[in-house]
């Protein structure tokens, strides 16, 4: 997948990666600096973070070099609609669990949105399928395995 096309322009994605790596290096360094407790013997808890921070910084600088040379492989265009549906489904899942909606509704949300993202146009039917799937998983977990999944109004009926 390596593209050896030499471009005169800067490769922005590589620069973004470089920036993120340098930020990560700084964060790790800062966190290690603020550690107050050291080991009495041998290596302390900061040795590894300093090493990791150095490696991240080197990798970040290498990405800067790459950005001005061959750049990162050029990705294909994104079907942003599909991504939005999928991401929306996952955010819906997190929100539903976070707000106490329970596992079953959360499952239905993520199931129907994902199916929509992959091109199905029957959101309501898929929501129904997702509910049944969520319900059966919930019952399997709570009744057979004695594990509690996050509960909401629906789960409390059982």
């Amino acid at each position: 997948m390596n593209q050896d096309v030499t471009r005169s322009r800067v490769d922005w994605p590589a620069l973004v990666v470089a920036a993120l790596l340098l930020i990560a290096a700084a964060l790790v360094f800062y966190d290690a600096r603020s550690q107050t407790i050291v080991s009495t013997y041998g290596l302390g808890p900061t040795a590894m973070p300093y090493l990791v921070s150095t490696v991240l910084a080197i990798l970040g600088l290498s990405h800067v070099v790459v950005a001005f040379r061959e750049g990162l492989p050029k990705p294909e265009a994104v079907d942003s609609n599909a991504i939005l549906w999928l991401a929306g489904g996952l955010i819906g899942l997190i929100a539903c669990i976070g707000l106490g909606g329970g596992f079953i509704i959360a499952t239905a949300i993520v199931f129907s949105c994902t199916a929509r993202s992959f091109g199905r146009q029957a959101l309501a039917i898929d929501f129904g399928i997702g509910t049944v799937l969520g319900l059966s998983i919930f019952l399997l977990f709570s009744k057979l395995l004695q594990l509690t999944l996050p509960s909401g109004p629906l789960e409390n009926l059982f």
């Binding site: 990666v17 596992f103 993202s117």
Partner: protein, 499 residues
């Protein structure tokens, strides 16, 4: 001879028809629960342990062995079919296995995993029966410095998963090691990189990262290019079973995987991850069709899966001979023993030989039963991939969320799954390999802890790493592994210029 006679006695206990039924039920339950993503063998055993309490000790032990092996096999099924490794030990299996499944070779992948598990399990259980007392003496002599050498060797072999850009591979690995720093430092008990979020104190769960990067990232990636480059999943292409060629390519990896898995599994801090990584990279180096690696090479499933199962039998060595629980599963098994007032350890062989040898015999039986039950099921599993794509991926995401919630029911954990999923998506777009990141998360903290323990014992003298023959040899091997690719690439360039 004494061992042999005891083993035969064990078989006479375990081969009663009622006991066989227990083994059958155990294998079936273990596979059924283990196949759920996020529920690895340890949790499977923990959840099903109460079922076995209702039986007599021998019956319970036998059902238990079935659950154990069933759970192990169930985990690899999920890794292969939906690319969601339920535990870190099936990570290496997922790499090639899921590629095979997508290319219509899910049948052979599951078959080589099942038969490889059987071969490895059988050989390793023989090793357990005949070599345990001798092996365990060596195993407890392994000091922190030796473990550090082993981890470094494993680190060097990770480069096998780097793909074609060392820079992007190293970046992925470094991010994984960075993620490994998050949480409470094992040796001083203080928090690192948690930024005041209490949920981060226990560190990043390996399964959350793996399922996020692998399953969720893959779903996002496939959805993103659905119109331009629709993905075709072929449930079955060619034979559902292993062809003659598959057998020929599988048997040596099975044996090599066993050779990695059993001894390392027997080490008190060896674990199952290191041997599966070592096996994966060895097979990749030895494979006659290197171009297939990364696109579904059967060796990449056969080797790690055998290593995984052999290491599971290996952990029973310190458990039965010393009473040392060296894995989560073993700790739960110990609880199972104690339920009957039995304390595994040096005295158990002397006090209750019938039980110990009954257990070892039932491991053989469970292993055999597993192949008999699961080979016919393969056709069924593979057909799951024939589900229409929208529902297939919707189901995969539901199982990914379920696995995460089963491990830790928190919004923070789910959010991490989401973030890692997006990271996996972006990494796929820009051709960064995702596997090194998970490997870094697993190996980084292990290597750090062992190095620091070693230096604490030596009061800070690093020479301890070279003074001990074990660590000196392992570090030497790692060094050779590090420079060998440069030598090899030099040779390859030489060859290429001849063409």
């Amino acid at each position: 001879m004494d061992t042999f006679a005891s083993l035969m006695h064990g078989f006479s206990v375990a081969l009663e028809p009622s006991k066989l039924l227990f083994a059958l039920v155990g294998v079936f339950l273990g596979t059924a629960v283990g196949v759920l993503p996020g529920i690895g063998p340890a949790l499977t055993v923990a959840l099903l342990l109460p079922v076995t309490f209702k039986l007599d000790p021998a019956g319970s032990m036998i059902m238990f062995a079935g659950i154990y092996y069933g759970g192990m096999y169930g985990g690899s099924t999920t890794a292969i079919l939906i690319n969601a490794p339920g535990e870190s030990a099936s990570l290496a299996t997922a790499l090639e296995g899921s590629k095979m499944a997508k290319a219509g070779r899910g049948g052979p992948a599951l078959a080589t995993a099942a038969i490889g598990s059987f071969v490895a399990g059988t050989i390793a259980t023989l090793g357990l029966a005949f070599l345990a007392p001798w092996l365990v003496d060596i195993a407890v002599k392994f000091g922190p410095w030796d473990y550090f050498g082993l981890m470094i060797l494993a680190f060097v072999t990770v480069s096998a998963t780097f793909g074609d850009s060392p820079l992007r591979g190293l970046t992925s690995l470094a991010i994984g090691v960075t993620l490994g720093l998050i949480g409470i430092d094992k040796l001083t008990g203080q928090a690192r990189l948690t930024f005041g979020v209490p949920e981060l104190l226990d560190g990043i769960e390996v399964t959350t990262l793996a399922v996020g990067l692998f399953a969720v990232g893959e779903a996002l990636y496939v959805a993103s290019k659905r119109f331009r480059d629709p993905e075709e999943i072929v449930p079955i292409k060619g034979s559902l079973w292993m062809t003659k060629e598959d057998w020929k390519r599988s048997w040596a990896p099975w044996l090599r995987g066993t050779a990695f898995g059993f001894p390392i599994g027997a080490l008190p801090a060896g674990g199952a991850e290191v041997p599966t990584f070592l096996s994966y990279s060895t097979e990749r180096k030895l494979c006659k069709y290197p171009g297939e690696f990364g696109n579904g090479a059967i060796e990449g499933v056969a080797g790690p899966e055998a290593a995984n199962n052999a290491s599971a039998a290996g952990t029973l060595v310190p458990l039965l001979t010393l009473g040392l629980p060296t894995s989560a599963t073993a700790a739960i098994m110990l609880a199972g023993f104690q339920q009957y007032g039995l304390n595994p350890g040096p005295l158990l062989f002397a006090e209750r030989p019938d039980l110990v040898w009954g257990l070892i015999a039932s491991l053989f039986i469970a292993n055999t039963m597993l192949v008999i039950i699961n080979l016919p099921l393969i056709g069924l599993w593979v057909r799951l991939l024939a589900i229409p794509q929208p529902w297939l991926y919707a189901g995969i995401l539901v199982f990914a969320a379920m696995g995460t919630l089963a491990v830790k029911a928190s919004v923070v954990e789910l959010s991490m799954l989401f973030v890692f999923g997006f990271l996996g998506f972006l990494m796929r777009r820009y051709d960064y390999p995702v596997a090194p990141m998970v490997v870094g998360l697993i190996l980084g903290p292990m290597a750090e802890a062992q190095l620091r323990r070693a230096l604490q014992i030596s009061l800070g003298d690093p020479m301890i790493l070279l003074e001990n023959p074990g660590s000196a040899i392992l570090l030497g091997l790692a060094f050779i592994g590090l420079i060998a690719p440069f030598v090899m690439s030099g040779l390859n360039r030489f060859k290429a210029s001849e063409d």
